[in-house]
Symmetry: C2
Subunit: 257 residues, 2 copies
DNA sequence: CGGGCTTTTGAGGAATTTCAACGTATGTGG
DNA sequence: CCACATACGTTGAAATTCCTCAAAAGCCCG
């Protein structure tokens, strides 16, 4: 914990300067959005190819190396983002450095929804990541013409809300073992939903980040994973992959049965 | 804990039969919605008096006594609601009866947002409560004509999401004392936002419900409140009221400072 | 006034954290 | 190519917070 900045959670005002932001070609024969790899996963899929071009005009690309900050809690919320490749974590800090990761974001996930003019959390990449960046103001103007995007965003927000409620159940009422089991299953389900293989799951997340997501310490996470491994529920493989050996049993464990 | 139903959390299918549902007079000279006490707090305030009449046509009133269930997790999500008076709790259950309350709802709060066709949580009144009930399907049809309501709902969902993230920080990373302090402040802020007095706050919530909201046991809640009382931070008054004696100190405590 | 419910208080125990040390991987520079 | 630095992961032992079990006290309402 001592290796984390002891910065207060609300007094910072950082948004990545985004020197890497790459403006998009303007309708140079077919919007780049039309060929976006995560188009079907993200809110953009509410639009037709033609309409998509309007979106393209207010967006640019951002590249982050692993561990780079995108913005900090409290900074003016000038942009929203869509993850295209890689993965992000979003988190909140207490003044003494305690951290709660409130979510991990994968390709297609939306980032930066906020009603206030400041971000309610910080966002940082957990591996090499690219995002699609929208100017909030311009996007909002666009939304007025495309209510179906707004509807899609409402659906996304509702889904996120449901996830958040699941997470509250995990944080408030589950044991360490149940938390880890729930987490592995969540990753597996999520991989499946975005069209990746759901069983040997890739785990590009450090023990520390898992701990901060599940309300545990790294030591407890490590011990618990060892336990799961020893009892034959999972197998740790090379390349940060985890094989779920008995999905049903893991599901029972996650629900405390 | 033994006094709670040991019902699984996903296999129930209850929505209050609502014999008490009172259909609204149909534009009998001025929509009842126009005179709604929580109109300014709820999503309805996106509409003009005239437009409000459309909303009135798809809504009815529901009355609940204290402790009555409105719907259970897993039931078909046929309605959404607005709290008009009283208060509700929403929660999720584990199969062994462990419970996580994910939120308390007060007048003006919106209830039932879901993308799936089943409720993701159960809802129950914590005191005598009335709600405004909308048929989901009819409301959604209406939304197509009133995108500004959809925008308002998106704003509401975003606010709820921010609250949920605060709650995750509380559940995952705060101590018992910090949790209680955060909770009291949250109630106070909320009361203020809906135009009630923010200092001697009314606490219509049992120790058990507080515990299930904060990821603690009733005993720990009781002990911690006693501690706060003894140290002069709060005073327990008659009628379930709590006076915050030193708001600043309480805020510091809530943030772990 | 008595019964049922919620709240408080106490004592002991358990899960998890803390502190500390060691092991493992990865990359850098000599 | 190897030594070294650095980050991450594992393991152990002690400490602590919070939970569990138990009982008494307070409160509300018929």
């Amino acid at each position: 914990m001592a290796d984390r900045p002891l910065t207060g959670s609300n007094d910072r005002s950082f948004e990545n300067t985004l020197r890497d932001a790459i403006p998009r070609p303007q309708s140079a024969g077919g919007s780049p959005c039309a060929a976006c790899p995560v188009r079907d996963l993200s809110f953009c899929n509410a639009l037709t190819d033609e309409e998509l071009d309007h979106l393209n005009r207010v967006s640019s690309d951002v590249s982050l190396t692993s561990g780079q900050s995108l913005f900090d809690e409290g900074a003016p919320a000038d942009h929203v983002y869509n993850v295209t490749t890689g993965a992000m974590k979003v988190y909140k800090l207490l003044s003494d450095g305690r951290r709660q990761i409130t979510g991990f974001l994968f390709p297609g996930d939306f980032l930066g929804l906020a009603t206030r003019d400041a971000y309610a959390y910080s966002a940082e990449s957990i591996c090499s990541t690219t995002l699609c960046r929208f100017n909030r103001q311009k996007l909002e103007n666009l939304l007025k013409d495309f209510p179906k995007v707004e509807r899609r965003l409402l659906g996304i927000a509702s889904d996120e809300l449901a996830l958040a409620q699941d997470q509250m159940l995990i944080l408030g009422r589950k044991t360490a073992k149940e938390k880890i089991a729930s987490f592995l299953l969540m990753l597996s389900n999520r991989a499946q939903k975005s069209g990746n293989k759901s069983n040997p799951i890739s785990l590009p997340i450090t023990r520390t980040d898992m701990a901060d997501f599940l309300g545990l310490t790294t030591e407890t996470v490590s011990r618990t994973i060892t336990q799961l491994k020893t009892s034959g529920m999972i197998t740790l493989m090379s390349g940060n992959e985890v094989r779920l050996e008995n999905r049903d049993a893991l599901e029972d464990m996650a629900e405390g049965e």
